[in-house]
């Protein structure tokens, strides 16, 4: 009995540590006063002032555009990379390829941003492209960052799949392209969705890499949040954080439920 109690205590304290700070943000977003020290009443005024701020709305739109493009491209390239890693057997330079794909997982963001900016500046000098840093460079940088995550997720899914179904289809005369679209793709689809969501969330979250490669016209939402955090607490940021947390939580939980319900079918 006491072991159960200890276990409950540990879990309770652990989840309190994980969630109390976030709940704090949400609670104070409804405080009418600007200051944390006094609770003057319940109010939506910070939400209203947030949603009527043109700079924040513009940045949100930029961020969503960049994240959508980056996640979609990243899923395409990452899936191909995962298939190469998983279904092509051993080939010369495979270790190098796998390390290069996985490198952005471990390289500090500051270095990714700095080195990509240096690449863009060098490319511009040599080829005249990209002729200035902006949305395109941020999308490229985010694709590079997120390919690694997508590849790992799709790769682990491929690893646990039954290879014989694909082989049977090939034996029965289906072309490799057809096998991919009719058999492999539906089976790895949950992993692709998960990879897309993760890539989207990572792109929407990134401030360091965008800080290096974003031009003046492509200020993303995290960059605005970051510069306002330097000045400390602001109830507008509380409101923004609460909205973001709600959207992401609902998105992740519904994706999880969809995938959880798919699971039994995949087992057959």
């Amino acid at each position: 009995m006491s072991r159960v109690r200890v276990s409950l205590l540990v879990l309770g304290l652990g989840y309190l540590f994980l969630y109390a700070p976030l709940i704090c943000i949400a609670v104070y977003s409804f405080n009418e006063s600007r200051f944390v020290s006094s609770w003057t009443g319940f109010s939506f005024k910070w939400y209203i002032s947030l949603l009527s701020d043109p700079i924040i709305l513009q940045a949100t739109w930029t961020s969503i555009k960049i994240a959508t493009m980056a996640a979609t491209m990243s899923v395409c390239i990452g899936t191909i990379a995962a298939i190469i890693m998983n279904r092509f057997g051993r080939f010369r330079g495979k270790t190098f390829f796998v390390s290069a794909i996985a490198a952005p997982l471990v390289i500090p963001e500051v270095i990714i941003g700095l080195s990509l900016l240096m690449l863009f500046v060098g490319m511009e000098k040599l080829f005249g492209w990209p002729n200035r840093i902006g949305n395109t460079t941020v999308v490229i940088a985010h694709i590079t960052l997120t390919i690694a995550y997508v590849t790992m997720i799709v790769q682990s899914r491929l690893h646990y799949l039954d290879h014989s179904v694909e082989e049977a289809a090939l034996d029965l005369g289906a072309s490799p392209i057809k096998v991919f679209f009719v058999i492999t793709l539906p089976m790895i689809f949950p992993a692709i969705i998960l990879g897309w969501l993760l890539a989207f969330a990572l792109s929407l979250d990134d401030v360091v890499i965008a800080g290096f490669v974003a031009g003046p016209g492509s200020t993303t939402l995290p960059m605005i949040v970051f510069s306002s955090l330097r000045f400390g607490i602001s109830p507008q940021i509380n409101a923004l954080a609460t909205i973001l947390m709600t959207v992401l939580t609902v998105g992740v939980i519904s994706a999880a439920i969809v995938m959880y319900n798919r699971k039994p079918q995949d087992g057959n």
Binding site: Y19, P108, I143, G211
Partner: protein, 311 residues
């Protein structure tokens, strides 16, 4: 002669076939990582040997054609020499190391009991418990840092609560020090520690622990001689997953650490944006990269040796 010509033509044909259609699609990831991962690292390495100058871009070329038939190669080791002689950089490396080691240790101390409790919980709620661990990771990392600014800042939740209760008269300096940076890192990377720990603790056969108790070992002995060794792969993986990003972290020390917590990540950022010194920033990045890559290659080697020993 004939056979050589034939072979060349055959080779060319194969090359063409390789580059057409489906093959082109397969080359996409290769080209992408070559251009946007490998190439930038080489450029970074190159610029770390350049000299700073007032120009656009603000660094000198290493290889230059001089008038006539002179090819000049200038390699400047000065950037690296500065890194190992200037107190600011040495201090930066020490601060980053200290913060990374402290936060990894704390994550392990916090994460192990949680992972153990989750692994031993009812199977029905286990998925939900794991989901709850990963959920904060999906919300923006800036928001998670902001949560701690709100709690720790001089006019934040903790200080205003303590002042209202008349426990303190002046706000405590909870923020803008390396402890606050550590707390931020622990909070952000705790899920990275719990997941690998969970997956290795979950595999431990419960009967082994019971056997240890039956044979008269104390809970401490059972923990250190049975559970710990079996959970070691998870401990190593989790520690690497926390230590590596903590070492190069920029946002958390920048926002929570105050002016004196100058980590390497912040030094790179400052060299680039404030001093406009691209070569110094590049040299710092190369050294930081070595600090990150070395532990990983060490772990990889260990794994390979283990795999060999297993065979």
């Amino acid at each position: 002669m004939y056979s050589i010509a034939e072979r060349i033509i055959e080779g060319l044909a194969q090359l063409l076939r390789n580059f057409s259609g489906r093959r082109l699609l397969i080359w996409l990831p290769f080209m992408w990582v070559l251009i946007f991962v490998v190439c930038p690292c080489l450029i970074l390495f190159k610029i770390s040997f350049a000299e700073s100058q007032v120009a656009s871009p603000p660094y000198s070329e290493l290889i230059e054609w001089l008038s006539g038939h002179m090819l000049q190669l200038r390699i400047n080791l000065g950037n690296y020499v500065t890194l190992f002689t200037d107190d600011m950089y040495i201090h930066g490396f020490a601060t980053s190391m200290l913060i990374a080691i402290t936060s990894t240790g704390c994550c392990l101390l916090l994460g192990f009991p949680m992972a153990y409790a989750i692994a031993r919980s009812n199977e029905k709620i286990r998925d939900i418990l794991l989901m709850l661990v990963i959920l904060p990771f999906w919300t923006s990392s800036l928001i998670r840092v902001y949560a701690w600014i709100m709690l720790l800042s001089p006019c934040g939740v903790i200080n205003s609560l303590l002042m209202k209760l008349h426990i303190i008269d002046m706000p405590l300096p909870l923020m803008n020090n390396s402890y606050a940076a550590c707390i931020g890192i622990i909070y952000t990377y705790l899920p990275f520690m719990i997941f690998p720990l969970y997956s290795s603790i979950e595999k431990i056969d419960q009967s082994l622990i019971e056997a240890a108790y039956d044979l008269g070992s104390s809970p401490m002995t059972a923990f250190f001689s049975v559970i710990m060794p079996l959970a070691l792969p998870g401990i190593i993986a989790g520690s690497a997953l926390v230590f590596v990003p903590a070492l190069g972290e920029f946002v958390i020390p920048e926002l929570l650490g105050g002016a004196q917590t100058l980590t390497i990540g912040r030094l790179v950022w400052n060299e680039f944006f404030s001093n406009m010194s691209w070569p110094t920033a590049a040299a710092l990045s190369i050294v930081l990269l070595l600090f990150v890559v070395l532990p990983i290659t060490f772990l990889q080697e260990r794994k390979q040796i283990k795999a060999l020993a297993g065979d």
